[in-house]
Symmetry: C2
């Protein structure tokens, strides 16, 4: 899963001074975060995080001795990646498929690469479409800006 020990930026400071130093930013923590800390990091809701786990999009999250979730930096990396995939418009089902491949081990490298390459193509198409749209928007905007100096 080629997880690099990514040092992320301080992220949203949120209410860092109201509570007794809730230890928000990722870098200075150890490797066990509560669900609400992960919420603060990723911008996902707790509901969504639990849901991701239910549908098999998260590789088993560790638990405290009382059964509460404790996310690792590795989990956070995974969530970052999933978030990126999500905003390409990739369906959750496909992401689950990828997660399965990761669980299955190294002999799925080929299929994983194929999946990512297909996603890559989709992204390129999407970018091209957006550029097109941008051109249309610019034409309309400049029309409204010049012609539309009403009042």
């Amino acid at each position: 899963m080629q997880t690099t020990p990514t040092a992320t930026e301080p992220a949203t400071p949120a209410d860092i001074c109201s509570a007794p130093a809730r230890r928000h930013p990722r870098p200075d923590g150890q490797d066990r975060y509560t669900i609400s800390e992960v919420v603060a990091f990723t911008g996902l809701t707790a509901h969504t995080l639990r849901w991701y786990e239910r549908i098999g999009l998260m590789p088993h999250v560790d638990r405290s001795h009382t059964g509460q979730r404790r996310y690792s930096n590795r989990d956070l990396d995974w969530l970052d990646f999933v978030t990126k995939l999500r905003l390409t418009g990739m369906p959750v089902a496909d992401m689950v498929r990828y997660a399965e491949l990761v669980r299955e081990g190294e002999n799925t490298y080929d299929e994983r690469r194929a999946l990512l390459e297909s996603t890559r193509r989709d992204v390129l198409t999407r970018v091209a479409e957006l550029r097109d749209t941008l051109a249309v928007l610019d034409r309309k905007i400049s029309f409204y800006a010049t012609e539309g100096n009403t009042r």
Copy 2:
């Protein structure tokens, strides 16, 4: 509504030789298309076209003497634009708002421009996000391509 008489490319030829010359490609037709012709043009379904009209996303489509829809080139231009907006991820409600402004006339130019400019900003953000994602994908893909020469 600054509708330019856009001459579009031949689009999908479809089953142009099976039926008695169904007059598919836009350019050579006059200004009245049936719903199924519009389906062939836009790739939208008839359901969606009727739904767009119901929710106020279409500026009143003309009807035949028996009440069937007859779309004009102007309508087709509008649909092209709507389709572009749609794939920026703009919510349909916002597009309806824009359609309302168009119906209200020239004194809404300012608001229309503001709406399009905000959309434009969204598109730029989106493109930047996609570029980011592309970088991540490329890293992973090249990892799988080199490291992953299993078998």
